[in-house]
Structures are given as C-alpha cells and as structure tokens.
Symmetry: C2
Subunit: 124 residues, 2 copies
C-alpha cells in the first residue's frame, strides 16, 4: 500500500459485536495490507460502553464528541484533539458521552487478529 | 506506562531539526516508556515543508489546518479529521497550508531511533 489519505466519508463501518450495537469500527489499513499496524475510525453511539482487556497497543484520537476511559489508575475524559494511549493488557471501560463520539485509532499489532485470538482462548 | 490521556496543552514541542524551524514535534509516548509505538503531536508553521524518506510506519491525523503529502503516487491533501498513512521507505514531501497545521501521530517503530540511525548511515 502506498501513501494514502482516508477521510471519514471513505470509511466502511461495521458493528464491533452483535451485543455492542452502538459501537462501530472501520479499518482503513489492516492485516490485509502487509504493514504492522491497523488504522481506522471508531464510532460510538450516545452512552455506548465497551468493557475490554486491550489486546494490542491501542492509540485513539478523539475527533468528535467525548469519551471517558476507566482503568486501574482512574478515569480520564478525552475531547476532540486529545490522544488516549492504552497499552496491551490493560483492562478498560470506554464510555461515550450522551452525544456519542468519533475517533481515529492506530493499533500495534493488528487488533482484529489479537482480539479473535483472545476470545478463542476464553472459549476453551 | 498505564492508560493515559494527552491534550495538546500537555505537549512539550521541540524543533525537528535546526534547518526546519517551522516544524515541531512533541512525543508524549516513545522509547522511554517501554512500548512499541511513539505517539505525539506535530506542529507545522505556515507553508512549512518537510522532505523525507519515512523511516517508520507513520500515521498522522490532522487536528487543525491542512497538509498536502506528495509521494510517488501523487499528492493528497488532508484536513481536520483525515488520516494519512505513510509506510516505511516511502519518499514524501509534506507541505503545510498557509495557516499551518496541527497533527497527532503514531509511529511503529519509534521514529526518533529510526531517524537517528538513518541519518547516521548517510553520514558515513
């Protein structure tokens, strides 16, 4: 893949999980493209909540709205232009504001592969 | 390093190079923190130009202003909310608009280490 620009209008959003209808992700670069990182946009509906052990190094940049992230060191609230850094292995609860939120993300390694492996492990 | 939020007001900007006074970077996460990625904010003065062979996988998110990136596949222009993906090894010219630009970036691996190594090689 060469140098590329991605606008939100280019993104194809998919629901994160069946039970989490209010959260959608849109990878624009991922394991299909041969590089080490996944890049994309995230869309959180009003009040959406995601509880998860982060399976990758996940960096989010808030583009619209507001999200709060609770971890073992407390809660931070991020607004447009803020960066949230979530290291692998951290247990977090991500909570969107009443207006929802739009984010950009970069993960190392690829979050879909890591997450699939994590959930496969849990099913054993 | 635990989960953390970084606002632009937390960032400590430094000039990228002596000859590039109009471009400043502010790492908020890097090789000092034990993870695989460097995360930070970039600030481009009006009309600032950076020509470089990208030494890492570099993802930029435009927060304010506008930048154009010229590579071997042409020129893309990115506005607030847009993502620019620049794979390792690509030769790019980054050009800020007349109002300058503010960006967030995530690089894998750490750009300062890769860039120092690249310039050391060139001096031999």
């Amino acid at each position: 893949m060469p140098v590329q620009k991605f606008a939100i209008a280019d993104a194809h959003f998919e629901r994160l999980d069946e039970q989490e209808a209010l959260i959608e992700t849109a990878n624009v670069v991922d394991q299909r493209h041969g590089g080490p990182v996944t890049v994309g946009f995230g869309r959180y509906g009003p009040g959406a909540v995601l509880e998860e052990v982060i399976a990758v190094y996940d960096t989010m940049i808030v583009l619209e709205g507001e999200i709060s992230i609770t971890s073992n060191v407390g809660t931070v609230t991020a607004e447009p232009g803020d960066i949230v850094y979530m290291p692998e292995g951290e247990r977090v609860t991500i909570h969107a504001s009443n207006n929802g939120a739009l984010t950009a993300y970069v993960t190392y390694p690829h979050w879909e592969e890591a997450r699939a492996s994590h959930y496969a492990d849990r099913r054993r």
